[in-house]
C-alpha cells in the first residue's frame, strides 16, 4: 500500500515537472506556400513551374520536399545477352518509390545534418533507396531514369534567401499568413526562402505533399507542410474517363473521329485536285 502511494506521488511529481518542459521545447513554426496550388492538365499542358515561398525561423537551414504516392515499382533490368545484345535480363523491384520526388535545399545536403536525420525525412536518393532496400544496387539507374523524365530532382542550394520584409510583397505568402495556415514566426526572427519546382509534361494527376524540413544543431524538425493538387481537366479528363470506364463509347467516338477526319480530308484534297486539273 505504501509502495503504491509512493509510486502515485512519484507519477504526480513527474507530471507536474514534465509539462512545462514539453511546452518550452515546442517545435519552431514555419510556413510554406506554393503557387499555383492547383495544376490543371489540359490538352496543351506541357509542364508547370511551381513557385515556393517559405518563412523559416532564423538560424535554420532548410529543405523543401515535393513527394507523392510512394508505391512498389517494378522495372525490367537490362543487360547483355549473347555478349552483344542489350536486352531485358530480369526484373528489378523497388519499394516505396514516389511517383514524383523533388527536393530543394538551402545548403548542400551533406551540410544540412547527419545522414540518419536526412534519412528520417527521406532527403536524398540514398534515403529514398537505402543500401539495405531491395534494388539498392540499381539506385543510380533508377534515379537516372526518373531524372531523365523530370520526375526526380535534388537541387542543392537552390533555395534563395530573401529579406523577411519581402514576405508581405508575395501575395500568396501574405494571404496564407492571414489565413488558416497558422501564425507565422515573427518576421524579425525569420528568414524568407524562395525556390521553384518544375513538373514535367508526363506528371501524373494526384495530390502531392510539400514539406518544409528545418535543420539546426544537427537535428531535423518538420516546420510546415502544404498540398499541391494536380488534376486532369476538360477533354483530357473526358477522354481518360471514357477510355477507362466506358470502353464502348470510347471505341465509337474514335471511329466517329476517324470517319469525320477522313471525310473532311477527302473533301479538302478532292477540291484541291479538282481545282488543279
Amino acid at each position: 500500500m505504501r509502495r503504491l502511494a509512493l509510486a502515485a506521488i512519484g507519477l504526480a511529481v513527474f507530471a507536474v515537472f514534465a509539462r512545462p518542459a514539453v511546452s518550452q521545447s515546442s517545435p519552431p513554426a514555419g510556413l510554406i506556400v506554393a503557387a499555383p496550388e492547383h495544376v490543371e492538365i489540359t490538352l496543351f499542358y506541357g509542364g508547370a513551374n511551381i513557385e515556393v515561398a517559405a518563412q523559416v525561423p532564423a538560424g535554420y537551414e532548410v529543405a523543401v520536399r515535393l513527394m507523392a504516392r510512394p508505391e512498389r515499382l517494378e522495372l525490367k533490368r537490362l543487360g547483355k545477352k549473347a555478349g552483344v545484345l542489350w536486352m531485358g535480363v530480369g526484373d528489378a523491384s523497388f519499394e516505396n518509390i514516389p511517383v514524383v520526388y523533388q527536393v530543394l535545399t538551402s545548403a548542400p545536403l551533406v551540410d544540412l545534418g547527419p545522414q540518419p536525420e536526412r534519412a528520417r525525412w527521406k532527403l536524398g536518393y540514398d534515403a529514398l533507396v537505402p543500401d539495405t532496400a531491395p534494388g539498392a544496387s540499381l539506385r543510380a539507374e533508377l534515379v537516372g531514369l526518373k531524372e531523365h523524365e523530370g520526375l526526380f530532382a535534388v537541387r542543392e542550394s537552390a533555395l534563395q534567401r530573401g529579406n523577411p520584409r519581402d514576405a508581405s510583397k508575395i501575395p500568396l505568402l501574405s494571404n496564407a499568413t492571414a489565413g488558416d495556415l497558422g501564425s507565422p514566426p515573427a518576421s524579425d526572427a525569420s528568414v524568407l526562402m524562395r525556390g521553384s519546382f518544375h513538373l514535367p509534361a508526363r506528371v501524373p494527376a494526384g495530390d502531392y505533399a510539400l514539406d518544409l524540413i528545418g535543420f539546426k544543431d544537427h537535428r531535423a524538425v518538420h516546420l510546415a507542410s502544404a498540398a499541391l493538387h494536380v488534376e486532369q481537366v476538360g477533354v483530357v479528363r473526358t477522354v481518360r474517363e471514357l477510355a477507362l470506364d466506358h470502353g464502348l463509347f470510347y471505341g465509337i467516338g474514335a471511329c466517329l473521329v476517324a470517319i469525320v477526319a477522313g471525310l473532311v480530308t477527302g473533301r479538302l484534297f478532292r477540291s484541291k485536285s479538282d481545282g488543279a486539273h
Binding site: 517494378e74 522495372l75 525490367k76 533490368r77 537490362l78 543487360g79 552483344v84 545484345l85 542489350w86 536486352m87 531485358g88 528489378a92 540499381l138 539507374e141 533508377l142 537516372g144 531514369l145 531523365h148 474514335a254 473521329v257 476517324a258 477526319a261 477522313g262 480530308t265 477527302g266 479538302l268 484534297f269 485536285s273
Partner: protein, 58 residues
C-alpha cells in the same frame, strides 16, 4: 492525335505517290525500312543510358 495525323498523312502520301515513279517509290520504301531496321539494331547494340526500363514496351 495519331488518328488525325494518319488520316491527313495518308492523303498527302497519295498525292506525293502519284507524282513519283514506281522505282522511286521502291527506293523510298527501302530507305524507310532500312532506317527503322538501323534504329532497332542500334538500340540492341549500343549500351542504354539506364540499365533499368519500364515494363511493357518502354
Amino acid at each position: 492525335m495519331l488518328l488525325l495525323g494518319s488520316v491527313v498523312g495518308a492523303q498527302i502520301g497519295v498525292r506525293v505517290g502519284k507524282k513519283l515513279k514506281a522505282d522511286q517509290l521502291k527506293i523510298l520504301m527501302a530507305i524507310v525500312v532500312l532506317s527503322v531496321m538501323g534504329k532497332m539494331l542500334l538500340g540492341l547494340l549500343l549500351r542504354p543510358d539506364f540499365l533499368v526500363a519500364y515494363k511493357g514496351g518502354h
